[in-house]
Structure formats: C-alpha cells, structure tokens
C-alpha cells in the first residue's frame, strides 16, 4: 500500500518521459502531456500544502527556534544574551537535570516494553480465541483510557493509589495488608506506580494497533500452521510476531517517545515527587522554562532530550523496516 503511494509520481514521470522521448509523437502532443504532468504535480503539492504549512509553523519553526534559544540566556521577555554552549554544560553539571534522564529510561520499561509485550499477547489471544463480540468489548475497554483526559485520569489514579484508596483496600481484603502504602508518595514505588498508570493508558493503543495488524495477516498462514498441528505459542512466535514487525516498530517508537518525553502523566500524578524520584526531563524543562524563566537552559535540555530520543528510536525504525523494504 505504502509503496504504491510512494512510487506513483515516479511512474507517472516515467510514462511522461517515455512519451517525450518517443520520436513518433508530435511535439504539440508531448507539450500538452508535459503540461498535464506539471498540472498534476502542482495539484499534488496543493493537496499537501495545508498540512505542510501547519507542519512548518507548529513544528519546524518552534524546533529551529528552540535550538537557537538553547545558545542564549533569556528570560522569555527581556533581551537575549549569547552564551554559546554554556547551557549545555550546565545541563551536564547539575545533577537534578541529568539525573532525570535515568528516570525517563526506567519509564521506557513501563510505557513501552509492558504495553507492547502485553498488547501482543492480548491481541493474539483475542484473534485466536475471541474474534467476535467478546473481542470487540475487550478492545473497547482497553482503548477507553486513550479517550479519557489524562488530567482526570491522574486525579482518579491519585485516589485509587492513596493510602485509603481502592488498590490498598483490595490488597487488605486479600490479606496483603502488610504491603499497603501511599504508592505515589513512596520513594521505591512512586515510579513503578506512575509506570503502571502509563501501562493502563498505552496498553489499549498498542493492542488495537497490533490487532489491526494481525487481521491483515493472511489467514491461510494460520490455517496451514494449525493443520500442521502448531500450538498457539508456535503460531505466535513464528507467524504473528515476525509479520507484525512493522506494527511493533510503530508501537515501540510511539511509546518510547512517550516515555522519554513524558510530562503529562507524571505531572498529574506526582509532579516529580517524592524527592525527585519521579522527576523526568519533561517536568524539569517545564519548571526551568515557566517557573524559573530560564528559556535557554530549558531549550538546551529539550534539545538534548530530542537527540536522545532520536538515538534510541532510529535503530528501532531500522530493525522494524529491514525485512519489509
């Protein structure tokens, strides 16, 4: 599908070229064809233009400006002073700033590995066991967190995970009263608790995306596997996972970016506490830029974070694309 789109303009071009080079065609004919090709190209660009303009205004321009700000000392209002790479040096020197990157990588485990892993399992179970109504209900329930505003979700989870919250009540009821605690206020458990909220949010997205992918896999592959007596696990490892490489790649890319650039989930659940144990670069950037009015330093941290995400994500992109391109 994708390939078709990419190659279409090229094929039109080759047709046009072959027409142009053919000696028998009258010149006028060739000219009119050339105009029509040009017209199509222009129309094509016109279709893309609105999106392109939006992309440039809201993505490329801020991107370039952030990179520029990172070399200045600026409070957001007054004059900007050129400071070279000083902001970048500060990021590496201040433990509160660089330390948050470690937390972000821990979040990758919760925001990315768990949702993608669990999503794969759930999607393949739904596909094999319950493709009908039950599967649809499951899919809807899992996807619900995606449409609940995160701020509301953060408040609800704050209640659920509080000392007298539902989570602890359940633990008490099943005789695990000894491990109850204020999950979001505990140094050891706050980050996993935030991660758990992340799993809840992202699992539905991954499951639905992977389920769509599974449904695109040729059913005859599964049929022949079953005729050969393959177990569910064998089907899973030899057909589902390899043929879902692309979808898994997309899931990993989106969720890892979510983890490394996390802000909303953390901000609404713990705001970085207790004692910076859940502080992530996104929160620090926010505090630097808005509370401290240090736009330059905030931009430097943001640029470093961006580079970090690109470094992590590009190999995943490459791996997931390798066999299919």
């Amino acid at each position: 599908m994708k390939k078709g789109y990419v190659t279409m303009p090229a094929s039109i071009e080759s047709i046009a070229k072959s027409n142009l080079t053919s000696d028998n065609s009258p010149v006028a004919n060739a000219l009119s064809r050339r105009t029509s090709v040009r017209r199509e190209t222009i129309i094509g660009w016109l279709f893309v233009l609105p999106a392109l303009v939006m992309y440039a205004i809201f993505v490329l321009v801020p991107l370039v400006m952030s990179i520029r700000y990172s070399f200045y000392s600026w409070n957001g209002i007054g004059e900007m002073t050129w400071v070279g790479i000083k902001n970048y040096i500060t990021v590496f020197k201040v433990p509160n700033l660089i330390g948050t990157i470690g937390n972000a990588f821990q979040l990758v485990l919760y925001f990315s590995i768990f949702p993608v892993g669990l999503g794969l399992l759930i999607a393949s179970i739904i596909h094999r066991v319950a493709p009908g109504q039950f599967g649809e209900v499951t899919r809807t329930i899992l996807f619900l967190p995606q449409i609940i505003p995160l701020v509301a979700a953060g408040i609800i989870w704050g209640w659920l995970l509080s000392l007298s919250g539902l989570v602890n009540e359940i633990l008490n009821a099943i005789g695990l009263g000894a491990i109850t605690r204020a999950w979001l206020g505990d140094f050891t458990w706050a980050l996993p608790a935030v991660g758990f909220i992340g799993v809840w949010v992202l699992l539905g997205f991954c499951t639905v995306l992977l389920l769509t992918g599974i449904n695109k896999i040729d059913p005859s592959l599964y049929e022949s596997a079953r005729i050969d007596g393959a177990t569910w696990w064998e089907e899973f490892t030899s057909i589902t996972v390899p043929l879902l490489k692309n979808e898994i790649g997309v899931c990993l890319t989106v969720t890892i970016t979510n983890a490394l650039a996390a802000f909303d989930i953390v901000y609404v659940s713990t705001a970085g506490g207790p004692g910076n144990s859940t502080a992530v670069p996104g929160i620090q950037i926010y505090i630097l830029a808005f509370t401290q009015q240090r736009i330059g330093l905030a931009s430097a941290l943001a640029v470093l974070l961006m580079i970090l995400v690109v470094i992590v994500v590009i190999p995943i992109q490459r791996l997931s694309k390798e066999s299919t391109l």
Binding site: S66, N75, I77, A182, F187, G275, T291, Q292, V310, L325
Partner: protein, 464 residues
C-alpha cells in the same frame, strides 16, 4: 536505499518535532516577545507619565471603566470585593479571568508583557517582574493615598530595591489582606490530651505532640505532595523562628547579599523537625497528601494540630464550627517574642495597564472602606491591614478568626513577621524545599543535608 534514508529522516524529524512541541512549548510562545519587549519599553515611558499625572486625583472617575483582572481560582475574596466595589462605584465593571496559583506563577510574565496587560493581577512573586519593568511603580500612589503612613511591615514585603533585594525600595504591589500562619488545633482532641490553653514554649508544645502520639491520635496533619508543594516548610519555618531570630531568615528570603539558610540555629530547627518525623508525628502518607486533602482530613477530625494560614479559617469553621483554635508557634524560651510567617495577598498593576488609577483606587478602597474590610475578614479570614487607626470588623462568635486576629495583634505588638521561605526565589519551593523535605520524610535526607541542599539550589538560582 535513498528512499529508506528519506523515510528515516522524516520519521526522526517528526519525532523531534513532536518532542519539541511538548517540551519546548515554552520557547515557542514568547517568540513574538521581541516586539512586545519593544512596546513594553515604549509604554514604560508613558507609564511614568501616567503615574505622575495619577498622583493628583487617582480615582475611577465617572466614565464607564472595565477593570481587566486576573484572580486566583479557589479563593472567593477578590471576587466578592469586586462585586462590592461595583455596587459602590457602578461605573466600574470587571473583566475577570482566573487561574490556579501554580499556573499564574508561570503565566504572569507573559500576561504582564502581553498586549492586554491586566489592571490588577494576583502576584505570586514580584522581584523578577519588577526588575524586568513589567510592574507599575506604585510609589506615586502610596504618596497620593497616604499608604506610606500605614504601619511599615504591610508595605515592606512588596518593596524592591535597585539591587533586586526585597524589603525596601520601590513599591510594586499591595496586599488585599495580610495572612498569618501558625498552629491550628482541634479543641476536642486537644482537651483529650490535657491541653486547655495554648502552649507557651516549644518544649510544652512538643510535650503535647508526644501525648497525642501516646493517645493514639495523629499529632499533626500536614500535606507534602509535590503537586501542592511540601507543607512541612510551614512547621520548619515556625521552628526556625522559635529557636532563633527571624531576622536572618527574612534576609535570606529577601535575597540579601551573603544570606544563608544554613545557620546553626536553623540546623537546630531542622533537627527538631527531623525528630518529629521520626517520632511519627505526621501522617505516614504525607508525601502523597495534597493541600486540600490535608485541610479536609483535619476538618474531619484527623490530627490534633495542623500548621496552616488564616486563609483556611472559613474552611475550618465550616468543617468544625466552634471546634478550631489557633495559636502562634511558641518560642523556645518562656517569654520570648513570637514570630510568624505573615504575607500580603499581593496584587499588582501591570506597567502597561490601561486603568492603573482605578486599580490603585480599588487597592486603597479594599484597605479603607468598612464594607470591604468586613468582606476581607469574613471571606478572606485575614487582617485587612490599612491605616493603624482603622476599625477592625466584627467577627462571628466561635469563629477561629477571633483567634487569628487576636494572635495577629499580639504578633504586631511584640513579635516579628516574616515572609515564607518558599518565596525566596521563584523555584526554591519546587526545586529546593519540596524535594529535600520529602527526602527527609523518606529517611533519605538529614537536617544538615537539607539546609545545605536548599542553600545550594538558592545560590544556583540567584547566580543566573
């Protein structure tokens, strides 16, 4: 191959962009401020002229005026005052926007620098905005209205000197009222542990804390989540003033040259707090408790004491009518002078405000008009300030406001008032006190380390 490379490039560009959208929204918004700064500079000149002409007859006039105001969500006081003001001056109507305090902290510079600059705005801090020329110099109004004749401490916290230190210099804001913090107590639970009158010394107070713990009661209800900021800063600062002088603490808050929070007497205070934590005087889940939760739980009878300010009076009275008392943190030695955090509920006028005269007139009216003062006390719970001879509005029988006003008067006569240690710099609360005190609760920070870490953050922020 090249297509592949192109797609990788596109994907990475897309990622970078989406990241930056979330991360650098900050940087994106002030893009237009280059021109804004220029207009700000231009209006500064006109502002000065405005202030000078304002001195003669600052009022709201008789023509229709729409005051452009930014208030803090969740506090009724400014809204009620605005309503009463319009009743008395019908030509003045209001265009009120409101936001959470934490959002206001972040928005204020842009609001002040923007095109539709507010005539009145709740100011979380003011030094940086004053230095950046975003706030109107109120000295002219102070002379015109006679504010400079009022008891000194009212205005001093909103004065900023040329070198950027607070406490003296040009006036940039006025308080709608002057809050007082100290110790609230649940009268029934206090009686249960044998406390009939407020403690006179720190030792006596700590004795009650121990008794409450022994009786199976929670000695102190307090909040500590990073979402509302660490509430242990309240008892800590009270302890600082109890075991030592409040003067060095004030100097630190006002960013005086060479000021440090890491002093021997503050160490003693922090050690007291550490002991309280270790003794289990605070809720075990304090690091996850938000301000509103702590206030609600105290209102439901959890906790004998709680450290808070008189802005919560109305809430406590509603939750436990007639059952809440208040006292200033007792000094370490009997007969010592009391000290407390007391801060103006500061409102300022943007340098570019269109109706600065009317806004200043409103600020003067709040402190001097009897109806306004009555609203101030009844709704805000705090001392309305104003001239020394102004009458104090009557307070409902059994209200904790009786206690806070009486203790406020005692503080005014014999003690000293300080601003909050959380207000020393714009991010010292979020980056210093909150995480370090949370670590102390988690046993990951001790008294000495706490003061050292906060001092390091303070110096880092002031060095920028």
């Amino acid at each position: 191959m090249s297509k592949k490379r192109l797609s990788i490039l596109l994907v990475s560009l897309l990622l970078m962009a989406s990241m930056l959208l979330s991360a650098c929204g900050a940087a994106a918004t002030p893009a237009a401020t280059a021109t804004e700064a220029q207009t700000a500079a231009a209006t500064e000149a006109t502002t000065e002229v405005a202030t000078e002409t304002a001195v003669a007859t600052p009022s709201c006039g008789t023509d229709p005026v729409v005051l452009n105001a930014y208030f803090e969500t969740g506090f009724d006081l400014p809204f009620k005052l605005a309503e009463e003001f319009t009743k008395q001056y019908p030509n003045v109507t209001w265009d009120i926007k409101q936001d959470q305090f934490s959002n206001l902290i972040n928005e204020t510079p842009r609001l002040l620098a923007g095109d539709n600059a507010p005539d009145l705005i709740r100011l979380p801090t003011l030094v940086s905005f004053a230095k950046q020329g975003l706030l109107m110099n109120l000295d002219g109004y102070a002379t015109a209205f006679g504010w400079d004749q009022w008891p000194v401490p009212q205005l001093s916290q909103n004065r900023v000197a040329e070198d950027g230190t607070r406490g003296s210099g040009t006036l940039y804001g006025m308080g709608l009222n002057y809050s007082l913090t100290g110790v609230f107590y649940n009268k029934k639970l206090a009686a249960q542990i044998g406390m009939t009158t407020p403690p006179q010394t720190l030792a006596e107070f700590e004795d009650y804390l121990a008794k409450a713990k022994a009786a199976g009661l929670l000695p102190i209800m307090q909040w500590g989540s990073a979402k509302s900021g660490m509430g242990l800063a309240f008892p800590l600062q009270n302890l600082m003033a109890s075991v030592g002088s409040s003067e060095p603490v004030s100097e630190w808050i006002f960013n005086k040259e060479g000021a440090t929070i890491d002093t021997p007497s503050n160490l003693v205070a922090a050690q007291h707090l550490e002991t309280w934590i270790k003794n289990g005087y605070f809720p075990t889940d304090i690091n996850a408790i938000e301000y509103t939760d702590a206030a609600a739980r105290f209102g439901k009878g959890e906790g004998v004491f709680t450290f808070n300010g008189d802005w919560q009076n109305a809430g406590y009275d509603a939750d436990m009518p007639g059952n809440v008392g208040f006292f200033l943190m007792p000094p370490a030695e009997a007969g010592g002078a009391p000290a407390a955090m007391s801060a103006p509920l500061t409102y300022g006028i943007a340098a570019k405000a269109q109706h600065a005269d009317c806004a200043a007139f409103f600020l003067n009216w709040v402190a001097t008009n009897d109806a306004a003062r009555a609203i101030d006390v009844a709704v805000g719970g705090s001392n309305p300030g104003g001239p020394a001879d102004a009458t104090m509005p009557a307070v409902a029988e059994g209200s904790v406001t009786n206690d806070t006003l009486a203790e406020g008067a005692r503080l005014g006569k014999t003690g000293s008032a300080m601003d909050f240690i959380a207000n020393a710099t714009s991010a010292i609360f979020a980056q210093g006190w909150t995480p370090e005190l949370q670590k102390m609760v988690g046993g990951k920070q001790d008294a000495a380390g706490l003061l050292k870490a906060v001092q390091a953050e303070y110096e880092l922020e002031l060095a920028q």
